[in-house]
């Protein structure tokens, strides 16, 4: 899409994979898989994540930048997912 001239910004939950595919600009959100923007019903966090991601799009980042965002998860679901011990 970038090569077609379309600006893109993506969310990544796994920078170790993103470093292989190297999209032009991504933002690291350390939420569990399947809860990308936050917990079920947490509308405020969903909106905050999207704002933080979208605000990166006009900024002057070099190609391949992964921007770490401030989001963390309160329990061990993500940790278990990263070990393939939880869906």
């Amino acid at each position: 899409m970038d090569e077609a001239g379309i600006p893109t910004v993506s969310i990544t939950q796994a920078p170790s994979i993103t470093r292989l595919s190297k999209p032009s600009l991504s933002c690291f959100v350390a939420h569990p898989f399947g809860l990308t923007l936050g917990a079920v019903g947490d509308d405020a966090t969903h909106a905050a994540v999207l704002r933080d991601v979208l605000e990166q799009a006009p900024r002057d980042h070099p190609p391949g930048t992964i921007v770490p965002l401030r989001y963390r998860w309160p329990d061990d679901l993500r940790t278990r997912q990263l070990r393939k011990d939880a869906l």
Binding site: M1, D2, E3, A4, G5, I6, P7, T8, V9, S10, I11, T12, Q13, A14, P15, S16, I17, R19, L20, S21, K22, P23, S24, L25, F28, A30, F33, G34, L35, T36, L37, G38, A39, V40, G41, D43, H46, A47, L50, R51, V53, L54, E55, A57, P58, D60, H61, P62, P63, G64, T65, I66, V67, P68, R78, T79, L82, R83, K84, L87
Partner: protein
Amino acid sequence: MSTFEDDSTGFSDVERAHVREAVGVKDFEWVRFDEPSVRVPLDLPLSQARITLVSTAGAHEVGEPPLGAGGHAALLPAEAKIELSHDGYDTERALSDPEVVYPVRTLQQLADAGVIGSLAPTVVSTMGFVPDGVRLFARAVPAAVQQIRDEQSDLALLVPA
């Protein structure tokens, strides 16, 4: 390359082994590039930008068949009622609040608040799990590019599940 605390270090190997052994795609490999994609910065204020949601959550319209892992894209009206079909995450949990992976309502609220210009009327939907990643480039990406151009969208926002 950015440096920061990354708890996913090593996950690419874990997931690769899972896809090969548990899912059964014996020859699975990640698509790798030596150089990053070119960067096209958004050249107008976010408050004026039309944004296309590109989702890899496996969303499809209610009553339509799942997308499957062939790298196809579905072009969904933003107001469409959706189902989520994807073996890689808990779709039942996400369906109780699709905004967690498919944030059309939240993006519309950001548009209503003037944070973004507008949400493009069509969502580009595909599956995050496509073992032959080259198919995504051959099938989903051209469809996405055409749709984004047709709707004169300014930015593609890629949201995984």
